[in-house]
């Protein structure tokens, strides 16, 4: 589904990401773990077209290369990002946010199916359609943001630290929903620092340290691995 190789990004002279390679299979949930400053956000922004990767990078989604496309065409190609900070249309209603998700002609036809899929994953949203997005709680906003991304009918859903700023209870609820999304055939790639919960719902995981992939494996293996703990706590 997604094949990334040789992905580097630098901000001025600072190399934030160096030679990252990664793959995600159809219907798979993959998590990239890393401490703050490891380059997680940069990685995800590069995939979504919000920052420009260094020459030589390859990003293939279902055979189509994305590395030179602007952000809105990457969405068209089937890759949707739920960004950190969510970037919801805060003065618009939930319904409008969701329907903007299906803005592209490709996705418009399936809008009602997509909407049903969103409701299936987040039943709560059905009652909140007319609420202004900016007035919702953090967890609910995160649901809208994921819902909006699902409306673009993506092959791959990217999540940038979805648990950030959420209470443990909400985090749990959110992570429970992700396998349901994957079950519909949409692959999920997320970066997280909450390793236990994210690994427990993922198929595979990567460890990102200092802008490099330093480890990868099946989620269940990583869950037991000390490398993860070391990446965070330096033990």
């Amino acid at each position: 589904m997604l094949e990334v190789s040789n992905l580097s990004v630098s901000y001025g002279r600072h190399l934030a990401l160096s030679d990252v390679a990664l793959s995600v299979g159809q219907g798979e949930i993959v998590v990239v773990l890393g401490a703050n400053g490891a380059g997680k956000s940069t990685f995800i922004k590069a995939l979504a077209g919000l920052v420009t990767p260094a020459p030589g990078a390859r990003i293939l989604l279902g055979g189509q290369s994305l590395e030179r496309l602007p952000a809105h065409q990457i969405v068209e190609a089937g890759l949707a990002l739920v960004p950190e900070g969510r970037h919801l249309f805060s003065t618009l209603t939930v319904a409008e946010n969701l329907s903007l998700g299906a803005f592209l002609p490709r996705t418009r036809a399936q809008a009602s199916d997509s909407l049903e899929r969103v409701f299936a994953v987040f039943p709560k949203l059905r009652q909140r359609l007319s609420q202004i997005a900016g007035t919702m709680s953090g967890g609910e906003q995160q649901m809208v943001a994921i819902g909006r991304a699902m409306m673009t009918d993506p092959q791959l859903l990217l999540l940038d630290e979805p648990s950030l700023g959420l209470s443990p209870l909400l985090t749990t609820e959110l992570f429970r929903a992700l396998p349901n999304i994957a079950a519909t055939g949409t692959s999920v790639l997320m970066v997280e620092q909450n390793s236990h919960q994210s690994l427990s719902i993922s198929d595979r995981g990567y460890l990102l340290e200092d802008g490099r992939i330093t480890g990868e494996g099946a989620a269940s293996d990583l869950l037991q691995s000390e490398a993860v703990q070391k990446a965070y706590l330096g033990m």
């Binding site: 209470s167 620092q193 909450n194 390793s195 427990s200 200092d210 965070y232």
Partner: protein
């Protein structure tokens, strides 16, 4: 002098409905490096901002040498001897390295605007290893050098307390080692340091003591080794271990 240099007592800050810092207290001893750690969004940077006067407190007090500094605007807090670095670099790109360093010293009380002051600022470039780049424009520096300069500028304030906000973040392994050396050198010069940091190896090797925050509250305090094995802390970082 009660032995503590800074005392943070029951501070709280809410943004709208979100309580970013909730009843946090700790002391800072002279010559100490204290780590302020916790997962993303736990309120560490807000705590730093409250100490440095960037935000006003909702509740609580902060004292420096027994003298309250909470409620003072940032410029007054700086005059009292609290210096900081910024998580995202805040250097002035159009200025030279030396000029940026002078920013730290020039506006402290009792400083006169003369060559001696400039020369003294330059000494802090030496501390961080930038002396040979004094005349270079900031935009031409490497990332690590820009980080060093942030530190030199803060040091040029000749502060009593130095707040480092993720100063080591984004450095590679060799840079990290030299960065740790620099911080140690500063501590040896007698400045007390509070550092917010995610690079745990640095916390382990530098900090005498750690305060751990999660969701705005202090959840642990102690030596790095002790707090980082504390199950609460591990859970805060990694999420609940027993999840279905």
């Amino acid at each position: 002098m009660t032995g503590t240099i800074m005392r943070v007592n029951g501070i709280r800050k809410a943004f709208g409905g979100l309580v970013a810092v909730d009843d946090v207290s700790f002391d800072l001893m002279p010559g100490e490096i204290m780590g302020l750690i916790g997962p993303n969004g736990s309120g560490k940077t807000t705590t730093m901002n409250l100490i440095s006067g960037a935000f006003a407190l909702d509740r609580g007090t902060i004292e420096l040498h027994g003298e309250p500094i909470s409620g003072l605007p940032a410029n007054k807090v700086a005059h009292k001897g609290v210096a900081r670095t910024f998580q995202l670099l805040r250097l002035i790109e159009e200025m030279t390295v030396l000029e940026n360093a002078v920013v730290g010293m020039a506006f402290q009380p009792g400083r006169s605007w003369n060559a001696a002051m400039i020369a003294r600022s330059r000494e802090y470039l030496e501390v961080v290893g930038l002396a040979d780049k004094a005349g270079v424009e900031v935009s031409k520096l490497t990332y690590i050098d820009q980080k060093r300069l942030e530190l030199a500028r803060a040091l040029a304030m000749e502060p009593k307390v130095l707040l480092l906000d993720e100063w080591l973040a984004g450095l590679n392994a060799t840079e990290l080692l030299s960065g740790i050396e620099v911080i140690r050198k500063i501590r040896d010069l007698g400045t007390a340091i509070i550092m917010v940091e995610h690079v745990m190896s640095a916390i382990h090797s530098l900090c005498d003591r750690c305060v751990v925050m999660n969701a705005g509250a202090k959840i642990a305090e102690g030596t790095p080794a002790a707090v980082l094995t504390d199950p609460h802390v591990v859970e805060a970082y990694l999420g609940e271990p027993h999840h279905a």
